[in-house]
């Protein structure tokens, strides 16, 4: 780009501005003078025509061309009069300063337009050479003709020409004066700025230590000082940058965008590639790229050169001078702005060979581990099969144990019945009725035992049908089983059952659950040797639920034990299996959709069952 010296610009701006100002001023003066002269000429022409119209009225009415001629000829000496004429309303010349025109008709376009127009003052021509004015001759409203005057403007034009030439000379003189003044101002201003420009040029040519030496107190001196400060700051900044570049922990290189050749590289970059600095200057990015990564590198570079991205990053391999491979993380950034022609890239590389090697090791370890896991998984699967088998056996054993547990009471009862039959027989008190009664009781016990087996089987079979049933009957079933046992052990049973409460679920399971509670109370009373054992069982209604409570006086359960009593296989009895209360809870929650809680209350333990009622 061509440079324009500051001095020249100052001179040019000053002279052009001055010239424009003076020219506009002079032009305005000429324009104003011209308007004044032209308007004056208009007024004269209009006044002449008006006067002629008034004085010629009578002569026009009389068609007295001689009289009109006198009037018109009287105007002849008027300066610059081109013509004066009186026209009939039809455009016939009644009188004219040029007598040869008298009696003729006007034929030009403007005149014809005038003749056909409404009678009012009209300017037919208003130009540099003349003013042509027509005034209607009127008798009141009767239009009888036109008075028309044409005044020349040659003198005005001559006057204006003189004025224009004078103005141009004046403008020329002013221009010369402004030129001289502009030179003086430009020289004064540009001297110091030139000094600054020289310093700038020297710095540009590489002399970084040179500084501007401008003395004074004006703005240019301040500018020079600021310029020197800026150079100092730039020098400091450049040193920092150089140190940053040279001492960076990563490799940094400036690469020619068009040739791919390295323009500048730091030592770290050389170390990574294994080449010396001079050798690197003769290399390109392509030269040191591993053949397997060239294609990917080209694709990334293409995107960058197209301006679709400002930078790209990739992990690739460089081929070192010694033939070894080094893995690097490379980031290449554009050093040109969007829309500019690509000039240089900045490439930053980081040696990631250790990380890559670690990753490869990790990969190998993962592979080994996977094989190990597969092996262990196979073993676990075999263990699982064994556990499943054991689980099945445990479930079966649990069921047998439960049945045995449930059978223990009926078997005791049967034992007692049989003992009673024997006693009755020994003491001769066996009658057919008592025998029949014992047989009936025995049968009921046996049926109960058989039912227990079915119910335990059903308990473990989820598809057993549920039904609506009277809750008090289930309680009675449980009492039936344990009633004799309680009597034999001197335990008093108090029952208070509200009839008509219907629940939904499994009546036999509920009976078993209640039986478990009664058995536990009985065992606790016997174990703790309570002198007058007592169990109270109540059934009542509370809202939409039936509430069944079992309260004993066996001095309760230890607070530490209380939270665990519903856990499976948890028992405090020597012969206990830890199944009873667990099963009771399961029956209440899973099959009766109810709940069970146990607290120490009064002299013993209070178990409360809540069972949803069926709405009638």
């Amino acid at each position: 780009m061509a440079t324009r010296p500051f001095k020249r610009q100052i001179i040019l701006t000053y002279v052009v501005g001055f010239f424009l100002l003076i020219s506009l001023f002079v032009t305005y003066l000429v324009w104003a003078e011209r308007n004044y002269l032209f308007n004056n000429s208009n007024l004269h022409a209009s006044a002449l025509a008006q006067s002629m119209a008034v004085s010629s009225l009578s002569w026009v009415l009389a068609n007295d061309v001689a009289g009109l001629e006198e009037i018109v000829q009287a105007l002849k000496p008027y300066p610059e009069l081109h013509y004066a004429m009186v026209l009939s309303e039809k455009g016939r010349v009644l009188a004219h300063t040029d007598q040869t025109k008298r009696g003729q008709y006007l034929t030009d376009k403007d005149s014809k337009t005038l003749i056909n127009s409404t009678p009012q003052n009209r300017i037919l021509a208003d130009n540099r050479s003349m003013i042509d004015v027509a005034v209607p001759i009127l008798l009141k409203n009767r239009h009888v003709g036109w008075a028309r005057v044409g005044l020349g403007r040659e003198q005005i034009a001559e006057k204006l020409n003189t004025m224009v030439w004078g103005s141009m000379i004046f403008v020329g003189a002013a221009l010369c004066f402004s030129l001289l003044e502009a030179f003086a101002i430009g020289k004064r201003l540009s001297r110091r700025i030139s000094a600054l420009a020289e310093v700038t040029a020297m710095i540009q040519s590489g002399e970084r230590d040179v500084r501007a030496d401008v003395q004074g107190t004006d703005e240019i001196t301040r500018l020079a000082h600021a310029f020197n400060d800026m150079l100092d700051t730039l020098a400091t900044s450049e040193n920092r940058f150089r140190a940053l570049f040279e001492q960076a922990a990563v490799g940094v290189a400036q690469v020619n965008a068009n040739t791919g050749r390295f323009v500048r590289v730091n030592q770290r970059f050389c170390d990574i590639c294994g080449y010396g600095l001079a050798e690197m200057m003769n290399k390109t990015l392509h030269d040191i790229t591993h053949p397997d990564d060239i294609q990917a590198s080209h694709e990334h570079m293409h995107v960058l050169m197209e301006g679709k991205a400002r930078e790209y990053s990739m992990e690739k391999r460089f081929s070192r001078k010694d033939g070894t491979i080094v893995w690097v993380h490379l980031t290449v950034s554009a050093m040109w702005s969007f829309g500019e022609t690509p000039t240089h890239h900045i490439a930053v590389v980081q040696d990631i060979t250790p990380r890559v090697q670690a990753q490869e090791e990790l990969l190998r370890l993962n592979l080994d581990l996977e094989q190990l896991v597969q092996k262990e998984s196979l073993k676990n699967r075999e263990k699982d099969l064994l556990l499943i088998q054991q689980s099945r056996l445990a479930a079966m054993g649990e069921m047998v144990h439960n049945i045995a547990h449930q059978w223990r009471q009926p078997l005791n009862a049967l034992s007692i019945i049989i003992a009673n039959i024997k006693d009755d027989y020994d003491y001769g008190e066996l009658t057919a009725e008592s025998l029949q009664e014992s047989v009936n009781k025995s049968r009921r016990l046996l049926r109960r035992m058989s039912t227990t087996v079915d119910e335990f089987r059903d308990f473990f079979r989820p598809d057993k049908e549920s039904c609506d049933f009277a809750l008090d009957h289930a309680v009675e079933e449980a009492i039936f089983i344990i009633g004799d046992t309680l009597v034999n052990n001197g335990i008093q049973l108090e029952k208070k059952l509200e009839a008509g409460l219907v629940g939904h679920g499994y009546p036999n399971q509920l009976a078993q659950a209640i039986l478990n509670l009664l058995v536990n109370s009985k065992d606790a009373i016997l174990e703790r040797k309570v002198s007058s054992g007592k169990i109270a069982i109540c059934l009542g209604k509370s809202g939409s639920q039936a509430i069944l409570t079992v309260q004993d006086n066996a001095r309760g359960i230890d607070e530490e034990v209380l939270p665990k009593i519903f856990d499976p296989y948890y028992t405090t009895k020597e012969q206990g299996s830890g199944i009873g209360l667990y099963m009771t809870k399961m029956i209440m929650e899973r099959n009766m959709k109810g709940s069970i809680i146990a607290v120490n209350h009064g002299e013993g333990t209070l178990i409360t069952l809540a069972i949803p009622l069926i709405v009638a």
Partner: protein, 297 residues
């Protein structure tokens, strides 16, 4: 920058120029544009041209509105000489001359188609200033007497005949001053430039209306016998239909409201149809005048 400088200079110079410089002056032709036929209606100088147009303009408008395809144009004349020059030069298609001019125009191809009524008003009157002390005709001896024109019948010939036949030789005893128009004649006596002035009732009435304060200074000292009023004549090349049309319109003027208003302006009761024979009385008077007073051209 160079183009800017050039532009400024051009603007400066052009600003001094006129946009339509050098417009041509008007052009002329002897060829008249095609228009409808104009019939020029000349009226002898009963009044000055402006007043004449004010009075007779509506009559011409009426003719233009009543007769299609032709146009009538009123033309005044600055004085009797000019009027007669045009009349005898056959410049008028229609004319309203005084009776004397009527007789003369007959020999120039005009014929009477109508005449103004109110013949009793057609007489000469002689005005004097009230303060002049002139009571008898003999008082005018050796004094100036103003008349409009040599050929004005009612205003000049009839008063001169009257004075001549009443003891004053107008050719010798008085100084006759022809002043060009009726109004000038009246103003001459008012201003004292003449001891008496000949005129006739129509302009005198107009003067009384227009200048009552001046008219008060004057008095009609003598008046002549009456004669026939002014005629309306058509040139012999005017189509008879148009000439008759004009005559009929004039004759019926007093029968319409618009016509009556026109007649009121003229201070006339009516126009009436007439022909050349009606003006033989004028010929007789002129013969008598020529014989007794002075010879007429």
């Amino acid at each position: 920058m160079k183009s800017l400088l050039l532009m400024v200079m051009i603007v400066g110079l052009v600003a001094c120029e006129r946009e339509d410089a050098g417009k041509a002056e008007p052009s002329f032709s002897h060829q008249a544009p095609e228009t409808t036929k104009d019939y020029v209606f000349g009226i002898h100088p009963l009044h000055n041209p402006v007043r004449l147009f004010a009075i007779f303009g509506p009559l011409i408008d009426l003719l233009n509105n009543s007769i299609p395809n032709v146009k009538f144009r009123l033309e005044a004349s600055r004085d009797y000489d000019e009027f007669e020059k045009k009349l005898y030069g056959r410049q008028f298609d229609f004319a309203l001359p005084n009776p004397y001019q009527t007789i003369k125009a007959m020999s120039h191809g005009y014929h009477v188609i109508a005449k103004m009524g109110d013949d009793h008003k057609f007489k000469g009157i002689i005005l004097v200033r009230r303060d002049s002390g002139i009571r008898e005709i003999s008082d005018l001896k050796a004094k100036k007497v103003a008349f409009p024109a040599r050929t004005a019948l009612a205003a000049t010939l009839m008063p001169q005949y009257y004075l001549h036949t009443h003891g004053l030789n107008v050719n010798r005893d008085i100084e006759i001053k022809y002043v060009g128009s009726q109004e000038s004649s009246i103003l001459n006596v008012y201003l004292g430039d003449a001891a008496a002035a000949g005129t006739w009732p129509l302009p005198w009435q107009s003067f009384q209306q227009d200048h009552p304060e001046l008219a008060q200074e004057l008095t009609v000292q003598w008046q002549t016998e009456t004669l026939i009023n002014n005629s309306v004549m058509a040139r012999d090349d005017v189509p008879a239909s148009i000439a008759m049309g004009v005559a009929r319109i004039l004759d019926s003027l007093h029968t319409t409201h618009e016509g009556s208003e026109i007649l009121a302006r003229i201070q006339l009761s009516r126009f009436e149809l007439a022909d050349n024979s009606r003006y033989r009385v004028v010929e007789k008077f002129l013969a008598k005048f020529s014989k007794q007073v002075r010879r007429l051209d």
